[in-house]
């Protein structure tokens, strides 16, 4: 867990109109990499499901690399901070 950090997994435009369905697909994707439904649930930080599709999750670098290899994934990037202007 110590080696996990937040990564943003970006999937582009939504492929389904129902936000619940979009979030479910995010959990499924995480589940396929992490191996358990519980781990997928615990790792999920946000599901982006209204304006576009993607999610933020706590992942190791290796897990992030695995997810980035999935065909529907556009980018996987470590989270970073912005500042007020």
């Amino acid at each position: 867990d110590a080696k996990k950090k937040v990564h943003i997994v970006y999937l582009g435009e939504r492929r389904h109109d129902d936000p619940e369905f979009v979030t479910e697909s995010h959990h499924q994707m995480l589940w396929s990499i992490l191996g358990s439904k519980e781990d997928a649930h615990d790792s999920m930080v946000y599901s982006y499901r209204h304006g576009f599709s993607g999610f933020a999750a706590k992942l190791t670098d290796f897990q992030a690399e695995q997810i980035s290899g999935l065909p529907e994934v556009i980018h996987v990037m470590a989270d970073r901070s912005y500042e007020l202007a």
Partner: protein, 658 residues
């Protein structure tokens, strides 16, 4: 905001057309992504505001010291907070060590300030320590505010994951405009990489018709420091207002000069004046550097006003100097520096800024008198002429470091010493400066334009703002850009110019764009078909050969690498009277020839959109800097002006540091 709107010609007293015709923006919803709100502020009063628009799908969340149902009203219609990304990054948030409200409530004060600049309700008799007195209000005083708190703690940290969720929710809730006064320092990330969450989130918002207004950043005046540069966002630079706070400094020789301060008094009668420097008689260290005043023996500064010099334009030397002089029991400090436009009160202590010229005058007076003395008066508020408009030193500058052919910033607006609401614990109102403050000025204006032209695309509204912007200040005097040295402002300082709300209501022609144009931009920038396809959610293949980035239908022409000649295309859409004829007026950049074809555009019931070509050739024989000109279409009533910026590069992709 006690001056901003009158300065920009949006006075409620005169009931300007834009305010009147949009009923002060009452049907428009502005989403603010920031540090939260103090809902108790009078600027969130919903008195006189009608029912919440029925299309609104958002809500107000409760949390620490924030009751969603009690604190929201018909003005503040949405309040959500997004902290999970921050918590995942830093672990638990100890609010004893790091004071913060885990709720939409605004610990920092920044979010309250920017949201009330955009759409605060009228509050009369407001001032900041007596300065800038007047009626505070937002640009769209009846527009609705939805706060999406994604920035946290005293320093205002915003995690990309939290920002993205805020944008995602804002899209869902049904906002019309998203205002983001947040930046990430250069070097920039690609606009379609999720590492630039603001850019990617904004793309999806804009593709759904939501206009996204972003800060240009505060890393000026160096070139290529502008951020939030995606062509689908409206990027805002900061100018000063025609308001200043002159403070009289009278020397013992009876010469009086005017510095700048926010000193509320009392008058400091003739008092000893010193510039700490080594008299050459001992080993003690002396320094007249504002950041090193603490090295001076206390006896040098005790009971005196201290003159110091600094090369920095930010506020850190002021803080250092005030601290050192106060600790030495000095009575005031005069700081000689280049203008930074970051005046703050120094807690009742006289701290007055002057430029090097006045500073040197004071220094020579000190050196030529055995017992130099100075008198300091309380600061005054001076409004209107002869105070000039400047692009603020801190405002980030173009060219755009990702795509220099995309002019950024797009537009400028007042962002210096803007008086708006903050925490009631902090006096309720404060003056703040930054492109953060300029951004909601434009967001408020955009809200009014959205109310007036609900069918216009985000690009059309951007075009209306850019093509009608003032190239002078509202009184007709030139706008300068502060930095070193002060110079006439150019498009890399202020984009199209200073936002002119009334003119933007009737721009005549617009340079419109939609998602297909942004796809062509991505193609021209070299992004892969697969990435673009996933971004937009449908198969896309870029044309072969690749389109030219110069053909993107922006309300500007920026050619960063002209060698011989280039021809580019623009298309304008008539949004004015149906039967119109426009003629071109070209002011070419120096040493550059520009041929526009055709030279007359005719619009009628069948012709709403017309394309024209622009052939540009250079006479320069060396790699040059940018030269600036303008291309204007006029029907004798309206002037549709875009900036033209051309740099000759005989040697391409060449860094010149010889």
């Amino acid at each position: 905001t006690t001056r901003s709107w009158d300065y920009l010609g949006l006075s409620s007293v005169n009931s300007s057309n834009l305010l009147r015709n949009t009923h002060l923006g009452h049907q428009v919803i502005i989403g603010i992504v920031d540090t939260g709100v103090w809902p108790e502020s009078e600027m969130f009063s919903d008195e006189g505001i009608g029912p919440i628009p029925s299309r609104w799908k958002g809500n107000c969340e409760s949390g620490q010291q924030f009751n969603g149902s009690a604190h929201c009203n018909r003005k503040l219609i949405g309040a959500k907070y997004f902290i999970d990304g921050l918590l995942a990054a830093i672990g638990d948030l100890n609010t004893t060590q790091n004071p913060e409200y885990v709720s939409p409530r605004d610990f920092n004060g920044h979010g309250t300030h920017v949201s009330t600049i955009a759409a605060g309700s009228f509050v009369a008799n407001v001032s900041y320590g007596g300065f800038g007195k007047g009626t505070a209000r937002g640009g769209a005083p009846l527009a609705r505010i939805a706060m999406y708190k994604a920035c946290w703690l005293q320093v205002g940290t915003c995690m990309g994951s939290d920002l993205l969720k805020a944008i995602d929710e804002a899209i869902h809730d049904g906002v019309d405009v998203i205002s983001i006064s947040v930046a990430f320092p250069i070097p920039l990330f690609s606009e379609i990489e999720i590492r630039d969450g603001i850019s990617v989130g904004s793309f999806h918002a804009v593709s759904k018709g939501i206009l996204v207004v972003c800060a240009a950043g505060n890393k000026g005046p160096a070139a290529q420091t502008v951020v939030n540069t995606a062509p689908w966002v409206l990027t805002v630079a900061a100018t000063t207002l025609d308001r200043s706070f002159p403070t009289s400094i009278t020397l013992g020789n009876n010469i009086t000069m005017q510095g700048q301060a926010m000193y509320v008094g009392p008058e400091l009668g003739f008092t000893g004046l010193v510039y700490p420097e080594n008299p050459g008689t001992g080993d003690e260290e002396f320094s007249g550097d504002c950041e090193r005043l603490s090295v001076n023996p206390n006896s040098t500064m005790a009971g005196k006003v201290v003159l110091c010099f600094t090369a920095k334009t930010d506020n850190s030397p002021v803080a250092s100097a005030v601290s050192a002089v106060r600790n030495a029991r000095g009575l005031g400090v005069i700081i000689a520096r280049n203008p930074g436009h970051l005046l703050v009160p120094c807690g009742g202590f006289p701290c007055i800024a002057v430029d090097y010229e006045l500073g040197t005058d004071i220094l020579f007076y000190i050196r030529s008198n055995k017992i130099p003395v100075v008198k300091i008066m309380p600061s005054q508020t001076l409004v209107g002429q002869p105070v000039s408009t400047k692009v603020a030193t801190f405002s980030s500058r173009g060219p755009n470091s990702i795509s220099p052919a995309i002019l950024k910033p797009d537009i400028s607006a007042p962002g210096v010493n803007i008086l708006a609401a903050t925490s009631p614990d902090d006096g309720g109102f404060a003056m703040k400066s930054g492109t953060s403050m300029a951004t909601p000025v434009v967001s408020g204006i955009v809200a009014l334009l959205r109310g007036l032209h609900p069918d216009w695309s985000p690009a059309a509204i951007r075009s209306a703002l850019v093509t009608t912007a003032w190239k002078t200040d509202p009184s007709g005097e030139p706008i300068f850009a502060d930095g070193s040295n002060r110079k006439l402002a150019d498009p890399f300082d202020y984009g199209g110019g200073l936002v002119n709300p009334e003119k933007a209501t009737d721009p005549g022609l617009v340079y419109d764009m939609g998602t297909s144009d942004y796809i062509l931009y991505m193609c021209s920038a070299g992004y892969a078909d697969s990435s673009i396809s996933q971004l937009i959610g449908k198969p896309t293949s870029c044309p072969n050969p690749k389109p030219s980035i110069l053909d993107l239908n922006l309300p500007s022409i920026t050619i960063p690498n002209l060698r011989d000649e280039v021809t580019l295309t623009r298309t304008v859409t008539n949004v004015g009277p149906r039967d119109s004829v426009y003629k071109v007026v070209m002011e070419p950049p120096s040493g550059v020839r520009v041929d526009v074809n055709p030279k007359t555009l005719v619009f009628n019931s069948e012709t709403k959109r017309v394309s024209f070509t622009v052939r540009v050739t250079t006479a320069h024989k060396v790699n040059s800097g940018f030269y600036f000109g303008r291309l204007t279409w006029t029907d004798s009533v309206r002037e549709v002006t875009i900036p033209v910026s051309v740099r000759t590069q005989i040697l391409q992709r060449y860094y010149d540091d010889n």
